[in-house]
Amino acid sequence: MPGWRIGNLGDRLFRGIAATFATIIVVVLLVIAVALTQASRETLSAYGFGFVVGQDWNPVEGANEVYGALPFVWGTLVTSFLALALAVPISVGIAVFIAELAPEWIRTPTGFVVELLAAVPSVIYGLWGFFVLRPVLIEHVDPALSRWLGFLPFFRGAPLGNDVLLASVVLAIMILPTISSVSREILRAVPNTLREAALALGATKWEMIRSVVLPYAKSGLTGAVILGLGRALGETMAVTMLVGNKPSMSLSVFEPAATMASIIANQYPEAQGRQHSALTEIGLLLFALTLVLNILARLLVWRVGRLPGDAGRA
């Protein structure tokens, strides 16, 4: 039967095409690594591992030209962890509110509004942070912090405006929806029988959450936080517009800094020669860092099932 054979051929062809397209995703990930390594080979061979721990960054051509990524790694970690410290308690609070406390009619709209936060483009957070939040911090928050907590090394120096604190606060707002929507799904996956058992033993709602729900959800929640961290590490535009883009390694949140993503956005368009290579290598580092974090987070969250809210960063 020739018709049957044509059909069979079509099936195989179709399957082959689908498989090829699907494999492209894997290939793209590999090619990213190869292409970035290729484009940064000049600094890779010139500095080796010293690039990662090098503290100086001077892109001006000449005898003093030197590239080290440590200030940017530092800036990235500081802003991201500060943002996490601000965002995690709030996000988990939201997740608990939506999953455990809120009545049905409040639940859906609240979740919806929080997820809209994720839809606002990053460059608009930058715009808002620069023109609205920055003056507020300079006038009200920074003076209070340096007055009451100025003896700590974290609040030394004169607040100038574009600094670690401003970038971290805006970052925190941006990663809130990621952490809270993943956490919410994790909490929902906790079996109801556990809740009922705790309540039947006379636990209050909070005691039930603390002793039954949170321990059960622990690894999933850790995954949610790591996903938030991954998002914070790679966030570019808002941070570039707010962090000051000055390579420095200060402990103070009133100092400007630069993150790995922000220095790429800031210097890449005008970069030449070796600076290009150095910036690409920072991109490679960032890629590797987020890759590891994401794999870790997926492994922790995956058993709970599909993640919500992957669409949204902008």
Binding site: G93, F112, P121, T204
Partner: protein, 283 residues
């Protein structure tokens, strides 16, 4: 009965509930503040010229962003042209033939890809497209955006195809329809509205992207002479005007922000309403 202990426990319970409500409010307040501010500032700066005119040097009146609006549409259109077919076919593979190790690897990679910072995709496309071509172009920008759409489209397609009842596949196959036609004409068609929703969400996301465009499509003060030329976009224009010392350019940035936010939120909200209707209808 330990009444004091009970009271304390009740109080702690109330305090925690209050804290959770407060946390939710803390998250909602910035959203309202940001949206409110954009509407006020952007609304004041918005005029017909914004949609019809080209950018002008600071100080001249009647400047607009017509080229950036067209540029953003071009970039998003190209991103869809590259990303949607690829993502849909990858999703078909995962849903229909993906119950093997390759499927697991692809699923994992697509999830990991969703977490790759958008600026890294810009660097990647720069090295792979901009350097060989010798110039920035809308094609490069569209490719960078397509990479960001790909994971969303793939996973949405997979999930929705899996929801299509097997009875439909069996009915088509029993009529002698080959498997590939069954998948394209029966299964994919059934899931098409849902997949469209996923695409709309992905489009909403990439419309607001700036970082991957900075060194792929770059910017352009006038009209682009084709998709192989540097192209303006609303987001890059906002970024540049936000750093401008001139107030009229800052006002333009707010106007662009308003247009962008309206587009992105309308896309988001309509996609979600569509999903809710379909889910409610299925029940």
């Amino acid at each position: 009965m330990d009444l004091a202990g009970y009271r304390r426990r009740r109080l702690v319970d109330l305090a925690v509930r209050g804290a959770c409500v407060a946390a939710t409010l803390v998250a909602v307040v910035p959203l309202v503040l940001i949206l409110g501010y954009i509407v006020v500032k952007g609304g004041a700066a918005l005029s017909p010229a914004f949609f019809l005119e080209l950018p002008k040097p600071a100080g001249e009146t009647g400047a607009g962003m017509a080229n950036a609006i067209v540029g953003t549409l071009t970039l998003v259109g190209l991103a869809c042209a590259f990303g949607v077919p690829l993502g849909v076919f990858a999703g078909i593979y995962l849903a229909e033939f993906g119950d093997n190790w390759l499927g697991t690897v692809i699923r994992f990679c697509s999830d990991v890809m969703a977490g790759v910072p958008s600026i890294v995709s810009g660097l990647f496309v720069y090295a792979l497209v901009v350097v060989p071509m010798g110039r920035n172009s809308a094609i490069a920008g569209g490719l960078a955006l397509a990479m960001l759409m790909l994971p969303t489209v793939t996973r949405t397609t997979e999930e929705l195809l899996k929801l299509v009842p097997n009875a439909l596949r069996e009915a088509a196959l029993a009529l002698g329809v080959p498997e590939w036609r069954t998948t394209l004409w029966v299964v994919l068609r059934t899931a098409a509205p849902g997949i469209a929703t996923g695409v709309v969400l992905a489009v909403a996301r990439v419309t607001g992207e700036t970082a991957p465009l900075l060194f792929t499509s770059l910017n352009n003060n006038g009209w682009a002479d084709g998709i192989d030329q540097p192209t303006a976009s609303l987001t890059v224009q906002i970024y540049q005007y936000a750093g401008s010392p001139f107030e009229d350019q800052q006002a333009q940035a707010w106007a662009a922000a308003l247009v962008l936010v309206v587009v992105v939120l309308v896309l988001n909200i309509s996609a979600r309403i569509l999903v809710r209707h379909r889910v409610a209808g299925a029940r």
